[in-house]
């Protein structure tokens, strides 16, 4: 009977349901996105325990070296990397050089060890990086010094004579987006933005030898080359002024990924590095957590606003229902004459209000799913971080809460129905 009453006034029912849905959708979507984003970003942050880079903002270091967002705070020296490999408690240390982009995808220099050592957190050991096709390059960083010396000597030595260093392994999305399958060749561009204004190092063309499987992290949107390659490209050779080393040394490293033995060693290494004048160490997991705490304030505000929207919408449901109470007096009187109890009428109207709220809640969840899908696609496009936004038990509780609110609020107009005096109403119809 409730459903039939609702169908009788499709416009009012529809509009009020939709207004509830909007509030619910916003509330659910914001919550779900926040959760998914934090989870997704944390997953990416887990590729190493610490990131070592030039002194500056730890957040900037993490964002630039792990998410390839923004410029790095500077460089650290190769010597530091060599030193770190000998420290007790360091499991592995991968040198990283970030800079150029190719068609919007960041070109990142790493050592061979990157592919074999990095694990993405997934409970237990974690997932290694896997190849979808091809193989990884094989140019240990140690060979770069000799190669650099050879090229610096000038004369007829050219980079093209060493094809084994002009190799790249491409992330899943970069491969698809820039058409970089195994065997493709490209010339990396200089600077943060890709585009026509980029300098082209015509002398250096790189061949793609491998494509990685998707990881749901920024790795998918990166093109990996041997780490020393930058320093061998024209424009990265040190001039007299910059040859001293330090943060502006173009031969320096943007960052060093560290995996440490957990516990005491972890802490000790972190302190030692931060005490140095020429470097800092940031813990990606911590920086991401701090970042999301900042975001958390916004999240809370948005959720408060959407809760308000739901309240207003439910008030609208009540108002709409109340408006119909006068017109339905006859209907209620007839039902009483047919033997319906006052309580039954109360229940009827309350159920109508609850039903509209329920409809709005369900619609809102569907809408939230759509919103979340759109938003997570946007995030993935821009950072490579994959967000998996799935329905959670909390969402069902949300629908329940909204329905309950609708029922309670519906008591107001329902009282009018309860108070119907059938004899008077029916007689006055004569």
């Amino acid at each position: 009977m409730v459903l039939r009453n609702l169908r009788r006034r499709p416009l009012a029912t529809g509009l009020t349901s939709v207004s509830v849905a909007l509030g619910v959708a916003l509330f659910a979507a914001v919550g779900a996105l926040r959760h998914a984003a934090e989870h997704g970003f944390q997953r990416s942050a887990g590729i190493c325990d610490q990131v070592v880079g030039a002194k500056g903002s730890p957040l900037q270091l993490v964002l630039s070296s792990i998410y390839y967002l923004g410029a790095s705070p500077g460089n650290v020296s190769w010597d530091l990397w060599r030193e770190l490999r000998t420290w007790k408690g360091v499991r592995w240390a991968v040198p990283v050089a970030i800079g150029d982009t190719h068609r919007g995808y960041r070109v990142v220099g790493v050592s061979d060890e990157f592919f074999s050592r990095v694990r993405l957190p997934n409970g237990g050991e974690g997932d290694p990086l896997r190849l979808a096709e091809g193989r990884v390059f094989d140019y240990p960083p140690e060979r770069f010094e000799a190669l650099a010396a050879e090229l610096d000597a000038g004369g007829d030595a050219h980079l093209e004579d060493h094809p084994e260093v002009l190799r790249a392994v491409v992330g899943a999305e970069a491969a698809a987006g820039a058409g970089l399958r195994v065997g493709a060749r490209f010339a990396p561009a200089h600077g943060l933005e890709g585009g026509a204004a980029a300098e082209r190092h015509a002398e250096a063309e790189v061949e793609v030898v491998g494509v990685l499987e998707p990881t749901g992290t920024p790795i998918d949107r990166a093109v990996f080359v041997p780490v020393g390659l930058y320093h061998l490209l024209a424009g990265h050779r040190p001039t007299a002024e910059t040859a001293t080393g330090g943060a502006r040394d173009p031969r320096g490293l943007s960052a060093i990924y560290l995996r440490t033995v957990p516990g005491m060693y972890q802490i000790r290494i972190w302190r030692r590095l931060n005490d140095r004048l020429d470097a800092q160490s940031a813990r990606p997991v911590d920086e991401v957590r701090k970042l999301f705490r900042l975001v958390g304030g916004l999240d809370l505000a948005l959720r408060a606003i959407s809760a308000l929207v739901v309240v207003v919408a439910v008030a609208g449901v009540v108002a709409a229902l109340t408006n119909t109470m006068a017109a339905r007096r006859r209907e209620f009187a007839v039902l009483r004459a047919l033997g319906a109890r006052r309580r039954t009428l109360l229940g009827l109207v309350t159920a109508e209000s609850a039903a509209i709220a329920f409809l709005g809640g369900v619609l809102g969840l569907v809408l939230a799913g759509v919103l979340a899908a759109v938003a997570s696609e946007y995030v993935r496009r821009n950072t490579g971080v994959a967000l998996s936004v799935l329905p959670r038990p909390a969402d069902l509780a949300l629908v329940g809460a909204v329905t309950l609110a609708g029922a309670l609020a519906g008591l107001l107009p329902a009282v009018r129905a309860y108070r119907t005096e059938p004899a008077r109403v029916l007689a006055s119809q004569l």
Partner: protein, 244 residues
């Protein structure tokens, strides 16, 4: 005495205790149009299956008396017993239940619900009764067909003629075989020809179902079709069982 069902003639029947309707020393005052009206009825007895017409000037309390019998109102004084149930001794919810099971109402303006089809309107008559909920749809359909509305089962009242609406209202009143049918000027909205047809239908259907009929009317021709007439108001009610 506990109520047990309508009189013989239906599959659901068990005998109705005598009298079907008893009103004793009833007094009811109400306000209408700025005036206070009063109904005084020392005694009214109606036997099971009897068809009684109620006549009186407007304001004499015809509708009020119907509502007292139906349990929609309680008298200021006196008692009302319907089919063995002391209606005046029941609480409101119990009266509602009683009315759902044992009383059918037929209004002058029919009071059909627009959002429902003819069939659904009739089913509503049994919606609040526990006794005969099962089979309500079949009974509703059968009733409507017998009343000549087989083609219009799924039409809403807005698509029915006045005469057809009257029949749907009648079917709704009788769908759960009530002990008592209360009719309030049922032919008042109809033209002469339809009025005669509907009146006959009312009396015949009620008899078929075994319901006792109490019908308020201001039309002496209508009253003439009933077993006897009770006069309210200035003329005073007659002693029980006498002729009109």
């Amino acid at each position: 005495m506990t109520w047990r069902g309508s009189s013989a003639g239906t599959p659901y029947s068990t005998p109705v205790p005598e009298p079907a309707i008893l009103v004793e020393d009833a007094v009811k005052r109400w306000r209408s149009g700025g005036e206070v009206h009063e109904l005084r009825l020392p005694r009214l007895e109606v036997a099971p299956g009897e068809r009684v017409a109620l006549m009186g000037a407007s304001g004499s309390g015809k509708t009020t008396l119907l509502n007292l019998v139906g349990g929609l109102l309680t008298p200021d004084a006196g008692r009302v017993v319907v089919a063995g149930v002391e209606v005046t001794a029941l609480g409101e919810a119990a009266r509602d239940r009683f009315r759902a099971e044992h009383v059918g109402y037929l209004f002058q303006t029919f009071h059909l619900l627009d959002g429902y089809t003819a069939l659904e309107n009739v089913e509503l008559g049994a919606a609040f009764t526990r006794r005969l909920r099962r089979g309500a749809r079949e009974r509703a359909e059968a009733l409507l067909r017998r009343l000549g509305l087989g083609e219009r089962l799924h039409h809403p009242p807005s698509r029915l003629s006045i005469g057809q609406q009257a029949r749907v209202a009648l079917a709704r009143a009788l769908v759960d075989h009530p002990a008592v049918l209360l009719a309030d000027e049922p032919t008042g909205a109809l033209d002469e020809a339809s009025a005669a047809v509907v009146l006959e239908l009312v009396l015949d259907s009620a008899a078929e179902v075994g319901a006792t009929v109490l019908c308020a009317t201001h039309d002496p021709e209508v009253a003439a079709a009933f077993d006897r007439t009770v006069h309210l108001g200035a003329a005073g009610p007659p002693p029980s069982r006498s002729g009109s």
